[in-house]
Each structure stands twice: as structure tokens, then as C-alpha cells.
Amino acid sequence: MNTHTINMVFSIRDLQAGYGQKAVLHDVNIDIPPRSITAIIGPSGCGKSTFLRCLNRMNDLTPDFHMRGKIMHRDEDVYAPTVDVTHLRRRIGMVFQKPNPFPKSIFDNVAYGLRIHGMRDSKKITEKVHDSLVKAALWDEVKDHLTMPALRLSGGQQQRLCIARTIAVEPEVILFDEPCSALDPVSTRNIENLIVQLKKDYALIVVTHNLQQAHRIADYVGLFHMGRLVEFGVMKQVFEQPAHHLTRDYVQGVFG
């Protein structure tokens, strides 16, 4: 594991989290490197989604959620009382399992984030929407009907739209919570290609239960099991020479 943590996007120390009486995460320590794809894998209920939602404080919205430990984003404590959550979530974007475009036009879906953060100049908004849709590899498909309701797009297009609206507010990190599990294979490949494309500008953390997907796109892989981080390292190493017997069993499909 990398020890010089200065350049890390996230440094997480002794993270414990849970809902009410139920403890979900135990003693998680992890460093997420910049401009790379980190895949978080593990069986259902192992805490990988909870972990992801700690990073942009999405768990704040869940009643009874509690956590201990430290999550540093660059040199800022994510859970410091002075942190403005809206500002934090803008810098740490999130894409969900099920595509959730707003019931508005394609254009307004991307423009929404810009407007709520105070952009008024319609020329600048138009430009930014264009750039974001291009970056999300959706522009060519939607450029002629930007005023169409976003809900009429296919599932894969909707997911790319959700990525476009996340990109529009200029985050530094994008969190993906099983972004392809509701999509068909072709759309999945589109999203995967897009994620790989995005890595030159952003740090990407992808929760997935699809091992092949982690193998195809990830630079680093972390395996969670029963709320603990079992192993974390460079993708090739985790898949080919796992240090832990649980990792070996999981990547070979002995359990899952």
C-alpha cells in the first residue's frame, strides 16, 4: 500500500459506521490515489455502498446513521463540523445504481447543477452543458433534441446523462455505486469505456459486484467482506497474487 498520503485523494483512517444498532463497517483504512479508477468489490451486504456513501456524506440523509474515524479529502476533514455539505458534494460527485435523471429536459438536467450553484449567464450555461455532454459521450445522440424529456432516453443514455450532470459541476472525484447493474451489456460497455476515459481528469471510485468489470477497468481494487477491508492493492496483484485467502476464494468464485 502507498504510504506517502499527501497526494492521495482520500485518506481514510479507522472508519467505523453503521445504522442504529447495526454496525456495518469496521476499522477501514484506505488511501485512494488520484487520476485512477479504484474498484470496490465484495459480496452483497459487505458494506461497500455504505463505505461509498460515507465519502460524500450521502449517509447524512439516512436516519440513525453514525460513524467514527477520519475521512480526509485532500487536506480537509470531510466530517468536520465547519464543512458545508453542499460544497463537499459538489466536489465529490456521485452516480447511482439506477439511472435517476430529473423529470426535466435533457438540457435542464445538466444545467440544474450549474444553476443551483449560482451560474446565471445563459451563454456560459449552454457552453458548459455542451462540454459536459461531449465528455459523457452523449452529445452526438442528443444534440438535436436537447429539449426532449430526459425520461424518454434509454437506460444507458440516462446513466450517461447522470454522469454528464455530475461532470458539469466540476467535481474532483466521482463515486459510482454499481453504475451498470441496471443496464444491458452494450450500455455497460459504453459506461465502462466512459469511466476509463474520465480517469485522466478525475479520481473515480466504482463500487461493483461484477468481478469482470473490476478486472476490465480498475487500476486499484479493494475487497470488502463483512464490513472489513480484506485487501487493497494494484488490480493485477489483487487478482493474480492475492495476499489473503478470502480474496483468492472470492476472485475465483468460491463464494460471492
Partner: protein, 293 residues
Amino acid sequence: MNNVYHNLHDPWWVRRASGIDQVVKYLGILSIGVGVVVLAVLTGQAVLQGLPRLHAEFFTSFPSRVAAQAGILSAWVGTIWVVVLCACMSVPLGIMTAIYLEEYSGKRLLSRILEINIANLAGVPSIIYGLLGLGLFVRFLSFGRSVLAGAATLALLILPIVILATREALRAVPHSLREGSYALGASRWQTMWHQVLPAAFPSVLTGIILAVSRAVGETAPLIMIGALTYVAFLPQSVRDPFTVLPIQIFNWVSRPQQAFAANAAAGVVVLLGITLIINAGAIWLRQRYRQKI
């Protein structure tokens, strides 16, 4: 012969199942029939009896001792004054209360107690609200027997309905919509205003319309606070005395002369018409709104 698709050899409770389907179907048709027939008879009778009186002067004349000259001018104008004012008071209050309880307050004990009480208030008989209005608005706040007192009393009456309907509507908005907005760094109010409220709007509107329709037809609390039954002038301000359609109808029905019964029937038709127009307006608004999405 192949008997796979016949259930002759099944036990009786399995064979009974398809029979029950038939019974349920006809019971349903019968229940609907009762409602439709009763409604049709009532409406039909009112229309038949009231139709001769439904000409222009009926809407432009004040009540009179002579049945043939009596009209509902003060009644329908009063109804509109009271209902519009009542909606202006109860709708913003109700929606803001619902938003606070649903989105801001959390699930603490206090909000649970409030929730139970609001649900109970929605079922309190309207005459009780009349007593409250008499004590609070007419006497204590000395609004007098005015449009303002009537509207405020009706606003209290429908406030629980508006709150409950709005909360239900907010709850029905999928959580994923809120998450999408929060994940972009939107604040609670931005998420509420730009995403949740527009998505909940059609259902909120339905609830408000149901509540307002109830206010249109309410009589007891207004009699309790002293709305007049004979008004030969139009209210010029919210501090003026007033009457409303249901009270005018009640007044005519209680007279012995047969001619006034026709007036009452005509009034019923107008009252039904107003309710129908409000409902149609709501449906039209909702439809237009859905098409935009």
C-alpha cells in the same frame, strides 16, 4: 379425454375459488350501481325542479320574500369571497407545515405527536370548528360576523386535510430524485423547490381541490359563527357580513311555500356546478402539468 384443464377432481376449496371471483365481480357492480343510481336520482330531481328558475336574473338578484324574484347574487358572491380567502390562508400554511414535518423535522417524538393530532383533527366534526371560530375569530379577535371570520374558520377546518394530502404527495416522490439533487450539492430547499415540489405538485393539487370543495359545501360552522341568511347587499371588504350558497339553500328549504323549494333546487344545481368547475379546473391543470414532463 384429457381433463387437465378441468378442476372436477380438485378439492372443493380450490373449485370454489373461481366461483368467488364471480361473486366479487357482481358485488362490485352492485356497489357501484347503488352510488350511481342515488347520485343520478338526486341530481336529476334537483335539475328538474330547479331548471325553470335557472335564468340570468336568478344569478343577479338578491333574496326576496317573493319566491319568483329571489336570487342568489349575495350567496354565490359570498361563497367565492369566503372560499378564495380561505384557500389563500390554508394552502400556504398547510403546504409549509407539511414540508417542515416531512423534510426538516426528522422523526422525533414531537413530530410524531403532531402527526397523530393532525390526523385526528381531520376527522373532527365541522360544528366544533364553528364553535372555535365563534370564540376565537368572531369574539376574541373581534372579526365580527364577517367574511374574514368565515374564511378563517373554514381555513382551520381544511388545514389538516391540506397538510395530510401534501405530506402523502411528498412521501410519494421517489427517494432517488432527492438523492440525485443532493449529490450535485443542492441544499434542502433547492432540492425541495426544484425537484420534490414539482414532482409532488399534481397530487398536492388534488388534495387542495378536495379540501376546497369541502369548504364550498360547508354550512354548519358558518351558521355557528353567525353568517346571515338574508343578505341584500354584496360584501365590499373582508370585514362585511356575508352569506354563502349552502346557507341560502338551507334557508329556502326550511320555508313552507312550495315556490321556494324550486329556488333551493336551483341553488343546489349551482353549488354542484361550482364544485364541478373547481374539479375540472384541477384535472385540466394536472393534465397540462403532466404533459410538460
